[in-house]
Amino acid sequence: MARWTPERWRKLRVKTGFSIYYVIFLLFIYGPMFAMFVLSFQGRRGGTSFPMRGFSLYWWNKLLEPSTVGDMQGAMGRSIILALMVMVITALFSTMLAMAFRKAFLFSNVLFYTILTGLMVPGVLLSLGMAILLRQLGLPPAWYSSGLAVHVIWALPFGYLVMMAVFNRFDARLEEAARDMGADEWTVFKEVTFPLITPGVVAAGLFGFTLSYDEFARTTLLSGAENTLPLDINASMTQRIRPTLFALGTASTIFSLLMISVFLGIYTILFRRSR
């Protein structure tokens, strides 16, 4: 049993203070979503503003039905598939690039700024530039080809910079040691480097997923004949905005929270096994 020294008390106070701040912070960033949660149970005749006109699951039911304008379920499926593709490519490219940048190489400066340029090009113009080029080449745009291309351009710098932060002052001696013991490059990567950078790779991938799933401007002219979810929602706003949107938002929030719990569960089990 540890004794309650003044030092321990001080640490506990600091930790409690930070925890309270974290909770307040969560309240702040979840703030606008409370209205969304509540209004998703709006009565059948109500809209997307207060007052509530009764409570119902009417708008939740609507989520499962074909939508009036556009094709919400289909668009959502496309957006998720696209976001997953962007996630994988971003994680892969960011890791490869950040590893390359651990050593000096010719034109590394040029490459560095080119990657960052992806952050800076305004989306509508990148979309326009690509669309005109595709037309000249006679290639049709589609969300899974041209859409994917520009989404990766947008997400890559985020993932890359995260990986730069991860490799920042990365302790290379562990890899040295592994090499000295005769491991080949692939083994060194698999056994030493990758486990150390996993959190970063996950974060880079998450950035990719998040940025792609929510991207509107870059997709406007590049999604082809089928809409991604943001395009579909944008189109639905040329009509009455119904609480179905809030049901969708609430559902995706709940889904995300569930996924985090599942992740925690899986992680705990795996962690126990590997011990």
Binding site: F28, I29, A100, I115, G118, A165, D214, G249
Partner: protein, 326 residues
Amino acid sequence: MSKVSELHHTGLIGSQPEPDEAAVQAKIRHTEEGFATVWLITPATIWLVLFLVVPLVSIVIFSFWENTPQGLSPAFSLEFYGEYFYTKGFFDPEADRFLLPSVFIRTLGSTLYFTLVTMLLCLIVGYPIAYFLAMQVQAFKWQLALFLLCMVPFWTSYLIRAVAWLPMLGRRGLINQALLGMGIVDKPVSFLFYSEFGYTMALVQIYVVLSIGPIFFSLAKIDKDIIEAATDMGATPFQIFREIIGPMSLPGVAIGMIFIFVMITGEFATAVVVYGGKTSTAGTVILNYYGIANYPFAAVNALMLMLAMVIGIIVILRIVDIRKEL
């Protein structure tokens, strides 16, 4: 190996150690090892050239074209650059626009001003969260879970979240209902929404998460034993922050600030929805000209916005060279 020599070796405090012969040898060896650079960079480079450089070059070319009724027409015209910078009466001491920069430069200026304010707020709000996750939460799985919890609002389409702002902050919104219910105000307050206050709050709320991730990664790598050792040696929390934690987290801060800087400088949706369109941003100007098919001028505006971003990023990298820190 003692703690002190470890400190010196990794250069955590103060200057880097003197390069000795062994270190130089290690560095040389290091450059020879690892995967071949060419294989690591080729796929991404091809992708970047095809889908970023080529369209970007075409945008630059558009910016010199003429906009005729028949559509874009190839030319080398500086008309739209002139339009961007020059206002009639700029050099005329009698005119009311004497020395007044063009509306586009003023819009860019106010956008940058807003961005700086928001960046600062995001840093102040977000840093303690990153610190909490990295230093106070022990297990990696909890760190990641609590970080993901901050990301969740991001996974609801911003178009949906944008609609949800009004029932939260509007005259009949939840906040006003709460204020009225508690008797703090006797009629709804309107400064919460469609106001500079609401706009700034919304930007911080949306983008603060982007600064937390990178700062967290920088902080997470600090060896907690060092802080322990410093505390044992009698360093105050402020000293520890100034000497160890602060400098170590700088690259993360820089990266986080770059994320927020580019996101908010190019932002348009929040200005429309939360500020009720009561201001122009560099992003809305581009959209307006794009919307009326004046692509050359939209391109000029976009390039100037990019120029401002490049300068901003170079300034950030001047302060903290994230590549040298590798």
